[in-house]
């Protein structure tokens, strides 16, 4: 066997401004053979991306290699002349970094990307065959700019670009984290097909065990800069020996595991949406004749891919976006199409929203107490009660967002919404920026919060298993239309719409156990 990649006792540290060191990789040993498919999983901060990037000799700013040796295709990546390393890129090793659609240059056409990689004398046939291998057919892509193609297509183009000079090692960092479930499955299938065709060694990093389970033969589990488990993928997923791997597996939402018992009795409504339509950019129907009733204490899960209108629905209910036709009322018959500034304070506080990314919704310069009391006029006792409800102690009062983890920040965002004593909480992909283990704890917290306060919730997510674990009722949106609606068990066990069936199938086969 030929070894393509070897790590010997590799240590990497992060140094901040005060020269404080945090270990990122601790004495990592790893060997990857030619043609092997290796998956690396771990939470954020586990060092998995650093491990992948250092295999290409790349270290993010602030990181320092302190000891050990990385040898890629026989070259000592961290000691070699940068010019030699640069020549290996694309021809020996290719890295497709995690990026939410920003890895392509926005002012260059797809053809220009290939020209810059291969030289300008390359003909279109070469480019087209490379694109074809990545599952993209048609001359139309050559002339397009990155913003004119979808996320899945961009990821395929990045794959084609990485593989066009036949490297023997392909490094993928979170190749599907920005994609919809269905698109992600298709892209993963393409990756597997390409690997079988070309026989390169593949290392794929993901926070998602499902992704790694699909593309790899071997899996490495990382936690706090160390490899805690390494073995055959099937074995690790079926009988994990390390406690962290076990908790990782246990945290994954399962289609049929419920965090709370679905309530089916009919309750007085807190919000009634009737044939609501939202038209954007003149003609696009972001929402098309959507009707929905949220009862008191009911949890409604909204599921759909990006562009399905699920976030728009929340924005309309919260009043951030106005509807084009249809009606929307609260339980007392108040017209919720009234602009926010004309709503009485009581109506405003009734509905609260928590956003996807706490880094965007919390002001980075304010402490938790400042963020929470600023516009709510809450006193310290009220803030403490709200923090307690999201299982945070009084210590957090003086912390700023930079001093908290992702899960803690999202808890603060939820606590802030609770200060208004809302009857309805709108949750927009609140766990999608969090690690699986953290996600599980936040979901558990939301379930107990709902039970304690009897709030209604509308939860939006792309993860059907996650949402099924919390909701009473599910709504499936596609292209702005409701394609399926019903109790959570009905939708999961006997989906009627083909799109819902597809989603349920994908979720059911996400992890091969």
């Amino acid at each position: 066997m030929n070894t393509i990649l070897q790590f010997d006792q590799v240590c990497v540290e992060a140094r901040d401004r005060h020269r404080d060191m945090t270990p990122i990789l601790q004495s990592v040993n790893l060997r990857v053979e030619m043609g092997e498919k290796l998956g690396i999983v771990g939470g954020s901060g586990s060092g998995k991306s650093t491990l992948l990037r250092i295999a290409a000799g790349v270290l993010s700013p602030g990181l320092h290699h302190t000891s050990g040796k990385v040898s890629t295709a026989g070259v000592n990546m961290l000691a070699v002349d940068p010019k030699v390393r640069q020549q290996m890129y694309g021809s020996t090793v290719a890295l497709v970094a995690q990026s939410l659609g920003e890895a392509l240059t926005s002012h260059l056409t797809i053809r220009a990307h290939f020209h810059d990689t291969l030289g300008h004398d390359v003909n279109d046939e070469t480019i087209l065959s490379s694109l074809g291998d990545a599952g993209l057919d048609g001359v139309k892509y050559l002339q397009r700019f990155p913003h004119q193609i979808s996320g899945g297509e961009r990821q395929r183009i990045l794959l084609a670009l990485a593989l066009v000079r036949s490297p023997s090692l392909l490094l993928l960092d979170e190749p599907t984290s920005a994609l919809d479930v269905g698109t992600a499955a298709d892209v993963l299938a393409t990756i597997i097909k390409l690997q079988e065709l070309r026989g390169f060694a593949l290392i794929c990093v993901s926070h998602d065990l499902g992704v790694v389970g699909r593309v790899s033969d071997q899996v490495v589990v990382m936690n706090r800069g160390q490899i805690v488990e390494h073995g055959l993928t099937e074995r690790v997923l079926a009988t994990p020996s390390d406690s962290y791997t076990q908790s990782l597996l246990a945290s994954i939402p399962r289609l049929h595991v419920r965090m709370r018992t679905p309530q089916l009795s009919v309750q007085p409504p807190v919000v009634i949406v009737h044939e609501l339509t939202v038209i954007r950019n003149g003609s696009t129907r972001a929402l098309d004749s959507v009707s929905l009733k949220v009862g008191k204490g009911e949890v409604v899960g909204v599921i759909g891919e990006s562009g399905s209108g699920k976030s728009t629905l929340l924005s309309v209910i919260s009043g951030l976006v106005s509807s084009s036709s249809g009606s929307i009322h609260n339980g007392n018959g108040f017209d919720l199409s009234t602009p926010l500034r004309n709503r009485p304070r009581a109506v405003l506080s009734e509905i609260q929203m928590v956003f996807q990314n706490p880094d965007d919704s919390l002001n980075p310069v304010r402490t938790v107490e400042q963020s929470m009391s600023r516009y709510t006029n809450a006193n310290r006792d009220e803030v403490l009660v709200a923090l307690d409800a999201v299982e945070l102690s009084a210590q957090f009062l003086t912390r700023r967002p930079s001093e908290m983890s992702g899960g803690e920040k999202q808890r603060v965002a939820v606590a802030r919404a609770l200060l208004m004593h809302p009857q309805l909480l709108l949750l927009d992909e609140v766990t999608s920026a969090l690690d699986v283990t953290v996600q599980a704890s936040v979901v558990k917290m939301l379930a107990s919060l709902q039970a304690a306060r009897g709030m209604s919730m509308v939860m939006v997510s792309h993860d059907i298993a996650l949402i099924a674990s919390l909701a009473d009722k599910l709504i499936v949106l596609r292209n702005g239309k409701v394609v399926e609606q019903g109790s959570v068990d009905a939708v999961i066990n006997s989906p009627i719409d083909p799109y819902t069936q597809h989603l349920v199938n994908l979720a059911a086969t996400a992890i091969r156990k």
């Binding site: 694309g90 890895a103 392509l104 240059t105 002012h107 260059l108 810059d116 990045l158 670009l161 000079r165």
Partner: protein, 314 residues
């Protein structure tokens, strides 16, 4: 395309309404062509006679209408004080200032883009640091100080350029050329650092963006990465900086022109204002207006060309 047409129409509308405002504003100032002509020797009778002769007693609306009608037909009016057609006075000065601006711009902008690109890409370079510091110093020094330094160096110590302009305002371009280098160098020194630093800041940000690393990791060469991936992404703010600076070069050069006795628009503006020669002030003001509006229109169009995402929306 629709957006662009709308933008051009807006520019024109803004110009027209600001032109009217300028006319009214200048009209509201104390003094007119007749008081300017007679100056300290004015008597009420002489002024009244003069105003009658040049129809200055008409209402402001009528005079505005007449002026606009003449201007559209290429007649910029008549300066009572200077006893000449305004066009004859202003146009050669515009030509001179435009020449000065073009030479200064050619000295400053291309070199600023190259310097900013390289300093942003290789911040550790010693030459880069020196250029950066010199640019900063030049930017902060008043123009007359730079002019004096240049004058000392290039006219006294190494006398290769004339220190003052001794040719009349209507001299031919060839006659004017030897006199243009010193004021142009002064102006270039003032504006160089603006665009250089904007470029540098842009490159510093852009070079860390995911698409740049991604290009490198695909095996794109260093030169191609710098010129085709980093440069166009860092240019839009520089285009705007250059547009503002170019407009300034065409309209704000009076100090430099005064120092070198260069017969440009700036000198004329100062003279016309101190003479209260309203007929000459007006076209100078309008020229400045037109320059700023045109420059920002051009900048918007260029930025659109650089970013296909903006192009599609237009």
């Amino acid at each position: 395309m629709k957006n662009l047409t709308r933008r051009a129409l807006f520019t024109f509308g803004a110009f027209a309404s600001l032109a009217v405002l300028s006319f009214l504003g200048i009209d509201a100032l104390p003094g007119d062509g007749c008081t300017a002509l007679h100056g300290r020797f004015a008597t009420p009778a002489k002024i009244a006679e003069c105003r009658e002769e040049h129809r200055l007693n008409d209402s402001v609306v009528v005079r505005l209408g007449n002026w606009a009608n003449d201007a559209v037909h290429g007649d910029l009016g008549y300066s009572i004080k200077r006893d000449d057609q305004v066009a004859q006075i202003v146009l050669p000065r515009i030509r001179n200032t435009a020449m000065l601006a073009v030479v200064a711009g050619l000295m400053a902008f291309p070199s600023a883009i190259v310097a900013g690109l390289l300093i942003g890409r290789y911040p550790q370079s010693r030459v880069g640091r020196i250029i950066n510091t010199l640019g900063l110093v030049a930017m902060t020094l008043p123009e007359f100080v730079i002019a004096t330094i240049l004058w000392l160096v290039f006219s006294i110590w190494i006398p290769i350029f004339p220190g003052v302009t001794v040719v009349p305002s209507n001299a031919t371009i060839l006659e004017l050329l030897p006199h243009i280098w010193m004021p142009a160098l002064t102006l270039a020194a003032v504006v160089f650092a603006h665009s250089m630093r904007t470029m540098k800041a842009g490159v510093t940000t852009v070079k860390l963006m995911p698409f740049v690393e991604s290009a490198r990791l695909r095996g794109t060469g260093e030169r191609v990465t710098l010129l085709r991936h980093i440069l166009p992404a860092a240019l839009p703010p520089v285009v705007n900086t250059i547009a503002v600076d170019a407009a300034w070069l065409l309209t704000g050069t009076f100090v430099t022109e005064a120092v070198f006795n260069y017969r440009g628009l700036g000198r004329l503006a100062i003279d016309a204002i101190s003479d209260r020669d309203t007929a000459v002030i007006l076209p100078i003001v309008l020229f400045g207006l037109g320059v700023y509006l045109t420059m920002s229109l051009i900048a918007d169009m260029l930025v659109r060309l650089l970013d296909p995402r903006l192009r599609q929306r237009s």
